[in-house]
Symmetry: C2
Subunit: 342 residues, 2 copies
DNA sequence: TAAATAACTGTAATCGATTACATAAATATA
DNA sequence: TATATTTATGTAATCGATTACAGTTATTTA
């Protein structure tokens, strides 16, 4: 109701200046213990709360950080965000979450919006659909707003990134399928202009070649990370003259679509076709037929991304070499690919 | 790099005052057309961008709005948020999303955090675990920060709310099961101190009574909205002397747990037991056995909540009667409850 | 032509917190 | 005792945008 109390109100009441009050509240060592106590008590009495907007104006820091992800209703991104929040909240930051829904237009809009909100930094996983252009990222960098990529990254000078070793993840997934006796392993990829998807693909390919199997490019299909798209792609695969005996999908959602399509044709999993997904979404564990998937330690990814941001903020203008953190993926083996036990 | 340009820079360049620049940029009618143009052009040339922090300090508005939900990795909340964003972004607001994970402690922390960020309003779905106390909400109200509940609400004077008609939803779900010939319908409820859960329960109960069936309180179990909890509760139900022939769950996640438990015992769905969930999460559609569920038009709920907030902000201090918007639920019937066709 | 009005623009205070610099009082040093 | 050094606080500018009020022309009216 009544106006908020400011340091001026406190100052007037104690017959001192706002400067002294400010210093006392901020623990400036030049303030005598007696007045410090007095000020603190009075502040409490008067329900003083610092006006963050004023402080922000003065310091040029908003203590807001933007996080941009393709979508928030995936467990993976939700957990990354949780990790980010955990670290940043503790440092007094607020997190503004934006979704791109994999549309470049929205990505640009989001960046504008965050810039507008004068965020102190941006942590993001880039959108799928996208030109080769980096102007948006450049705009952030030019303004000295730290930008950190996680998961879906691009190699841009001056931008740190936190990912898992996607090549290794792809390699291990394929190797696992090969170990199960699969010979024709298909791959539901995603936009391979995005590094992580390309790396998963490359790892998968390498494993096939390393094992002396034939690599068939026609078994690789790019799809969006959606159930329907997974089904669609699987239709194509199953209709081939020599259909695959395994599918490694770089998305759990697409894998789910694949499973639906396969089951609808009465083909057995894992006996006839083995399935491996990616991201370890909870439903992979909860399904009647639990799905093998790759865990990306999203919580950890979020925490580390936040830490990288904090480091960059601290270092201020000093240009530091962009940090590239690579986490270890973990293949979680479940029934959908356990031919040996079926 | 170089400092940001301010209205003072523009003023200096044009040999006028910052006041004039400010007025020109804001379309003040007292400014001559010529200078207005000149200012606008120069602003563009110099890459001028308004400092929102300064404006926020002056106006007392941060143009930040807080949204508090139990979790973001559920399709329901993700869509509500999307609806909110849609409306608020268009009005120049930013949205700060917070999760409570159904912990009162985090809820309080979130509110503090948002208050700290000087948000212009808070839209929230209250957390489950909770005392009867409303002090946190009162704190917002005392500061004249509009608070709007959606979905999980409480009746508090001065707080508007947007929900679906949960009583009707519960009633229709139960009626549907009765129509399928079910006689002993169990209910996986949730904390019934939360209105929406109590209303679903009451609707369910009323339908049973209206149809002359016996109402058995022991068939009602409170569980959290989690897969594991759903399984656990279902174990109890199936171990009863007279197990139910249908389960109406007020959560899709708990329903999923129920289905797992039921299937693991070799009991058939829907022949032996029918299942109805709640929230129309995507997986209900994608499962091998698609699950009947209640749609709550989350997008619409978000949009309307945002609109209610905008209305309250506009009206300013004038106390307006708290608005209570009630949306219509829609029962989406799928195989899990279609005994008649099985 | 003098007075009144309109049309612009400038002056300066304001939002609330921070901080370099100045100053006063208290204490230490020679 | 006179000077140097601390210690504690006050003064005033600053961050950038907004706006009530005042002031200056230019235009209109009597």
């Amino acid at each position: 109701m009544s106006k908020k109390t400011t340091i001026y109100d406190i100052a007037k009441k104690l017959n001192i200046t706002a400067a002294t009050v400010s210093r006392a509240l901020n623990g400036n060592p030049k303030i005598s213990e007696s007045t410090r106590q007095l000020v603190n008590e009075t502040a409490k009495e008067m329900n003083y709360e610092q006006n963050k907007l004023a402080q922000a104006l003065k310091s040029g820091k908003s203590y807001n950080v933007g996080v941009i992800v393709p979508r928030i209703d995936s467990n993976f991104f939700a957990l990354v965000i949780r990790g980010i929040e955990e670290v940043l909240y503790a440092k007094g930051y607020h997190v503004i979450i934006c979704q791109t829904h994999d549309q470049k237009k929205l990505e640009i809009q989001n960046i504008n919006s965050l810039l507008n909100a004068q965020v102190d930094g941006v942590l993001m996983s880039i959108s799928n659909s996208g030109s080769e252009e980096n102007e948006n990222f450049d705009r952030l960098l030019k303004k000295n707003v730290p930008l950190i990529f996680f998961d879906r990254k691009k190699d841009i000078d001056g931008i740190s990134a936190v990912t898992i070793d996607d090549f290794k993840a792809g390699y291990e997934a394929a190797q696992h399928l090969i170990n199960q006796g699969c010979k024709r392993i298909a791959h539901l990829s995603n936009n391979r202009k995005i590094q992580i998807f390309n790396n998963r693909y490359l790892g998968y390919k390498q494993a096939i070649l390393d094992n002396g199997l034939e690599f068939d490019e026609s078994l690789v299909i790019e799809t969006a990370s959606k159930v329907e798209e997974g089904s669609k792609a699987t239709k194509i695969l199953l209709d081939m003259e020599m259909p695959p005996d395994a599918i490694f999908s770089s998305s759990d959602f697409a894998a789910l679509g694949a499973i639906q399509e396969i089951k609808s044709r009465g083909i057995r999993i894992p006996q006839d076709i083995c399935i491996v997904g990616f991201a370890n979404e909870p439903f992979t564990r909860f399904m009647e037929l639990p799905v093998t998937s790759v865990d990306q330690s999203p919580l950890e990814m979020g925490r580390i991304s936040a830490q990288v941001f904090l480091d960059e903020v601290d270092k201020g203008k000093k240009k530091i070499p962009n940090k590239q953190v690579v986490l270890n993926p973990e293949l979680i083996i479940r029934k959908s690919s356990l031919k040996s036990e079926a």
